[in-house]
Symmetry: C2
Subunit: 466 residues, 2 copies
């Protein structure tokens, strides 16, 4: 691999940095809080602003796409090259709520640059990381002398990611033809740290459910009946306890069917990351690490499926005691999925497992809320190698690989469009997503611009899956 | 044993039945609802009414005893016989709330006699069963020609049993000298059925607690951290699941230490009772029977200690899902105790057991609300035999034996006074304690009078423990 930077790219970026930041600040001033109905006009203004800016950047097509919720922005810039690959960039233009009272040192929608950082709601999540693609593609053109990018470049910038992406799957399905591509680049994630640039290779999937257990038709006296009738709270707890074996492996038969195991190479690469478990525990607000035997903390979060209790309830929960056998109990369970697992199959495995475990006298109902598929791109996938190489050139060092333990709308793109999802993000954990004083490191933001500038040529040359 | 009734007793009771019922109806008209602060004056009126009636009955001493809550009534009638045993009758003069809107067919505090039943709040629980002692002792005197009972007879009729007996232990301790006795007769229970007179030989004890488990300092993201940190809801459930082994025996080490096992004779006698499990399940509002292997339903309720989950809670319990690892979880557990178990020892066993079972990163706190001791009188105890014999004479048949699965203030009397507690009750399950249309069967009520009339002579002659 070559990590040689391109002096023409760097010179172009340096020459346009001030204007780029001025534009980004203007966009960050728009409080596009999708969760706040009172900000709906601002979300629309943000979409309109972005569409206009993409037109100004040179995209021949830049449209605002309506949904039943907040509007998205779509832009398209054909390569003109015969057989050029097609790439779809995903990001979002809406932001989390923010108010000075939450602990901001400055107004969240009045961007401030201080000590090389740009502070504003959305600076990192996700306007900054969407916006680096505008200067990135211009630098790509300037350095190569092209008039159109080396790939057919498409952008889909969602408007309600921060409020649950409720209409996103429908939007993707409705426009599947225009969104068709060879790969998706998600620019809505981060990297390991300032010193350790990384590329994320996958996200976990998710399916979650509620299990209701019904025992006696009403709460009954624990003296008159206790010890002789089944107790739904006890049975709920016994289900939870049986979710994991003594090695904290999920004990539901069939749960691990098809799981793509970590390769030795991935484990080596994860192990080389400068992981400080004490620091990580502080971030987790947790006082201990615990998980599936035989795996490190990073492997557990990134590459292993889980069964987690999100909530449990039943019987008396007020002050003091109440000597009853409760009538009902409830569990909220979520299952993080990894590549190779199928949400439907996992749901069926959970249903079968519950059914077989309850005693006579306990009735149950299971409701699944849905499923988000996991996504994973193999380390040797050429498009993933292109992203890593472009990032390596920008940072002047070999990039490492991570995964993401959470689940996101990226999987909807993977599912509907049937293509690999790649991640290009330059945000770092200290950026404060969803927190007060969100910021983006300006040096890293410009590395994002530079990465984007290298990426399209590399992808056109090397990025096709064989 | 002789079950020969005494014709003089029967004649006296028959001759005074109408006046006895008129008096009871008058008392039942007083809505002495201790749980309702607006009825405090009625509770006091009920106490005053009873003290006056006991004086009229012939008790040389009849006093209203103040507590920090509702007043109790105390009465005393010395035997005059050298070496006569001393017996303390326990009951209560307060009643559960009642309103026509709850489903009563008549006004709850306007007693109505219909089809041989007296309908009113308190008819069975407990005014009727307290009041049969007044005519009982008069019949005892009339039939024997005595001017004072064959035992030193004491009555303690509490005024806040239906609202938790909060001040009862203090009251007993404060008056322990005057309450000193050889045995307590509790007339606040029932018997198996109209056709099957029974004597209760014991009650279970109780100790209950709350266990709080603390994990992360706040709810955390199940994608970013799930599967790698301990989850307090999971650990709470694992504790509950570990409470019982596969035979549904309590698995806490030391829990069964000292437990007085059922004798073969008791098991035989329980098995002879006309128990209909389907009917019992309907009463329990339960759809299945489940408990400790090797014991019948009646044995499980009456004679085996239990560990019951009264409540469990942790994490998200609202509608839909929320993908968190909860910060905390809580258990409410109650342990029913049987003779031979010690509340303090059980509490310590629970504490030790919990401490050893939680992983690093989960902190816990245990709060016990207190302990009520179990009580049990052996089948061959002479005073118990006296109660059974007196009841047998009244009913003209051999009485059988039961126990009570619940726990009650009787145990406070046993503890403070250090004497056996016996149970004499004629109420039947259909009487509707705490329910609308509470009633007492008049024929059974008069059998209660008759039993009381036989009991004092029998106890004086045979009732002392050897």
């Amino acid at each position: 691999m070559s990590y040689t930077p391109d002096s023409a790219v760097r010179a172009y970026i340096e020459g346009h940095r001030a204007a780029f930041l001025d534009d980004l600040v203007e966009w960050l001033r728009i409080p596009s809080v999708s969760a706040d109905p009172g900000r709906a006009a601002d979300v629309r203004r943000s979409a309109d602003w972005l569409a206009a800016k993409l037109t100004e950047t040179g995209f021949p097509t830049a449209e605002v796409w309506e949904t039943d919720g907040a509007p998205a922005v779509y832009a398209e810039w054909p390569s003109g090259d015969e057989g050029a690959p097609t790439v779809l960039v995903y990001g979002h233009h809406d932001v989390q709520p923010a108010a000075v009272e939450d602990g901001w040192h400055t107004e969240p929608f009045e961007p401030v640059v201080k000590d090389g950082r740009l502070y504003a709601r959305g600076a990192a999540d996700d306007k900054g990381q969407v916006f680096f693609h505008t200067l990135g593609v211009r630098a790509h053109l300037a350095a190569t002398g092209r008039t159109a990018p080396a790939v057919n470049l498409k952008l889909l910038i969602e408007g309600e990611e921060e409020s649950g992406s409720a209409h996103f799957p429908d939007l993707v399905r409705a426009h599947a033809d225009r969104l068709a591509c060879d790969a998706v680049i998600v620019s809505d994630t981060g990297m390991w740290s300032e010193d350790t640039p990384t590329v994320c290779t996958g996200m976990r999937g998710l399916t979650d459910c509620q299990i209701d257990l019904f025992g006696p038709d009403q709460d009954i006296h624990s003296g008159s009946f206790g010890g002789a009738v089944p107790n739904p709270a006890t049975e709920a707890a016994r289900l939870v306890a049986a979710l994991h074996d003594e090695d904290r492996r999920v004990a539901i038969p069939g749960f691990y069917d098809g799981v793509v195991e970590l390769t030795d190479r991935e484990r080596e690469l994860f192990a080389e990351l400068p992981f400080d478990e004490k620091q990580w525990l502080r971030t987790a607000h947790s006082h201990g690490a615990l998980g599936e035997s035989g795996y490190t903390t990073l492997e557990r979060i990134w590459a292993r499926p889980t069964a987690e209790v999100n909530g449990i309830g039943g019987g008396y929960q007020g002050p003091g005691g109440k000597t009853i056998v409760p009538s009902a109990a409830q569990l909220k369970l979520s299952f993080r999925l990894v590549a190779g697992q199928d949400g439907d199959r996992v749901q069926q495995a959970v249903r079968d497992w519950v059914t077989g475990r309850l005693p006579e006298g306990i009735r149950h109902e299971i409701t699944f809320w849905g499923a988000t598929r996991p996504c994973l791109t193999p380390l040797d996938h050429p498009a993933l190698q292109s992203v890593a190489r472009a990032m390596g050139r920008a940072f002047g060092q070999q990039v490492r690989f991570t995964r993401e333990g959470g689940s996101g709308p990226a999987a909807d793109l993977q599912d509907v469009l049937g293509v690999p999802v790649l991640f290009l993000g330059i945000s770092v954990p200290s950026d404060g997503w969803h927190a007060p004083n969100e910021k983006v490191e300006l040096d890293l933001l410009m590395k994002g611009v530079e990465t984007a500038a290298y990426l399209w040529g590399d992808l056109a040359e090397h990025g096709r899956a064989r």
